[in-house]
Symmetry: C2
Subunit: 270 residues, 2 copies
């Protein structure tokens, strides 16, 4: 048993969809969440800038006594995972590998789609991971840069002509390619499950990268006999900007009121 | 005559619409442009974070020998102008006052609309400036947070159902209020002139804050006898992230190919 906390970070608050899954699977765990709201979004930035930001995010999380870190940011996971793992003394789980394993097991046609930020797609990380899993898989990766701002403005519901139009345009090439499995490669995207599912049709399986990362983290802790055993775990929230829109966005992503404290951190000091 | 350069900064590349106007009015001037592309957008951030970022942007510009600074960022102009003016030894022009003067002169009904980022609207800076100009003016301020990401993805043309729908929803309250003058309070928004003009109708005058700031800067340099006299001025571009999308976005905002050099700056060092 290990009562230390799990550290989770994301560019902003989208990673709270992964926290939601962590809490569902492991309600006894304490979680420290850091959202870099002063520099969100990460999805269009260069690899060099992403690595600088991600290292600071990790250094902040490591001021706590942690037993594991979950990178709940698709863009960081695709661009910086190896560097962050090499620099951390606790296991670091990104979102790519768990989602790739799930998608590779789910596909029947061998044609898999990926939607993600521009930087995630540019990294080629998913293609490489799929190729390692099975060189015969055909992967169609697609950048969807408007999904994040639309979700953050609450435009994620079926029937909204704005998100419906954007989703139909983005996803047309994946429909044409005939993918039967689609990886939602950004922790904002689970909020678009209904819209994306509506466009892709019921025959296409959607893979939520945050949920798969949570499962991988749980399996890894269980294998190390490091799961916490206590009544209920807590979540502590940290953000790099003042928590102006925190409650609105946090409840959107977390699916519940964000109880517990929210504190501001000057991330440039880390 | 003063051959020193004019410094211009913005959160990203939207401020190049102001550079376009500066070059149109003063083709002989040298311009140093800094775009904080590693931390763009500024529009949803807190005042404290904005001030920290804007001070770093100013410190970088002041490594050059300047005769004036133009803040081509609506969000910084509304939240930080006084602090930055107090800390600078050259005149600093923001976008608020010149636009307010133009709009106050243009309105016949006394009902003026303002569209801007969330942080600009929250600052109340436009209302205060309009009230100083004429306490009888009725000002309707409206945050339009999706305009910037939609423009950056090139969705700014009439006939695009996404931007048309978003613009119609945002602007409905201003149409209802019967404004006859509308301040486009963000340097991204001139690219939406046609869409916004289409929604508001031909009787509503649009005020481009970047163009008004350029005019104010020119007038101020002329009054100080500090205009440059040379054949053609040059523009030097600096960005805080690697210039991945620079050419695409720069030509969009500048309305011409961005000639000259682009260099990357580590803004966290300033």
């Amino acid at each position: 048993m290990d009562l230390r906390a799990i550290g989770v970070f994301d560019s902003g608050l989208g990673g709270l969809t992964a926290v939601r899954q962590l809490r569902r699977l492991m309600p006894s765990e304490n979680i420290i969440y850091f959202g870099d709201t002063a520099r969100v979004p990460y999805g269009n930035r260069s690899r060099e800038t992403l690595l600088q930001y991600a290292r600071q995010d990790m250094r902040f999380l490591h001021t706590f006594d942690l037993k594991a870190v979950v990178i709940a940011c698709g863009t960081v996971s695709t661009n910086c995972l190896e560097a962050l793992q090499a620099e951390s003394d606790v296991p670091v789980t990104g979102v790519v590998q768990p989602a790739v394993e799930r998608a590779a097991a789910a596909t029947r046609s061998g044609r898999i789609g990926l939607v993600a930020t521009r930087a995630s797609v540019a990294s080629g990380a998913y293609e490489r991971a799929f190729h390692r899993a099975d060189p015969a898989l055909e992967v169609h990766a697609l950048a969807c840069p408007l999904f994040v701002p639309l979700v953050e403005e609450g435009r994620c519901r079926p029937g909204d002509i704005v998100i419906e139009t954007v989703a139909e345009e983005y996803l047309a090439s994946l429909r044409k390619a005939g993918v039967d499995t689609l990886v939602l490669g950004c922790t904002h995207y689970p909020l678009l499950s209904e819209v994306i599912g509506g466009v892709m049709g019921p025959a296409v399986s959607l893979v939520d990268v945050g949920a798969e990362a949570a499962r991988a983290c749980r399996d890894q802790l269980a294998a190390r006999d490091a799961l916490a055993e206590r009544e209920t775990g807590s979540v502590r929230f940290y953000t790099s900007d003042r928590a102006v829109n925190f409650q609105r966005l946090a409840s959107l992503f977390l699916g519940e009121e964000a109880g517990g404290t929210v504190e501001q951190v000057d991330i440039s000091q880390y």
